[in-house]
Symmetry: C2
Subunit: 136 residues, 2 copies
């Protein structure tokens, strides 16, 4: 019959559990998951629309809407780039920074719950493996 790939299954399940948890955190503060991602990426940074779209693996037009809505809520601002008059840079407002901070705390707590059964040593090992997987 079927031949499941255990690593695929485990990774997919953890990924879905993580996004579900982050979606809940976002909802708690009146955001969606993509909005939470934008805030997370923009913490302490000023990013060009095209770079942000590439990082999120979204089309430019999708990002326009995302940023429109975030801007409408007063969380981010747009500013024309001085170096390239075609480009627009996005960054967090004070309110956006504050919300991003609140989200970070809640998200860390949610992830902590998710990893409940793991000891500190196991968490360290997991971090090492994840970091290496991300290093390619």
């Amino acid at each position: 019959m079927t031949k499941p790939d255990p690593l695929l299954d485990a990774l997919a399940q953890v990924a879905f559990k993580t996004t579900t948890a982050l979606t809940e955190v976002a909802g708690d503060v009146g955001l969606t998951l993509p909005q939470l991602r934008v805030l997370g990426i923009l913490r302490g940074r000023r990013v060009r629309m095209s770079d942000l779209a590439a990082y999120l693996a979204l089309e430019k037009s999708s990002l326009s809407g995302l940023v429109d809505r975030a801007e409408g809520r007063g969380l981010v601002k747009r500013e024309r780039s001085e170096a390239d008059a075609r480009a627009i840079e996005v960054f967090l407002t004070d309110r956006g920074e504050a919300l991003a901070r609140a989200i970070e705390h809640r998200a860390a707590s949610a992830v902590d719950d998710l990893l409940g059964p793991l000891s500190q040593a196991e968490r360290d090992a997991l971090l090492g493996l994840l970091a290496k997987a991300l290093s390619d």
Copy 2:
């Protein structure tokens, strides 16, 4: 300034990378990520709508639409439960099973790429940690 949580960051990034990869796999076969999840869960199973919704962490109404579209593509079928006349069970059609099988191969390959830098021993260790995290 800020105090990032390394494990939160790494887990979130891996989760997003995984879902991005699975979204691409889904797109390759004309599906969306939620549809891919439905197919993956339904492999070799017959599940009640309410159970499927709970598993996916979706409202019943959201699942109705998801299953409507999958049924419209001939991938799943609905059947009234014999045990409880209120309940409806969903299951894959032959075409749905075949597509789920094709997805499994592509997804395994995509995850393999994602974990590129990890040795076999590290993959085994990662699987162990993920499985334990999921065991709560």
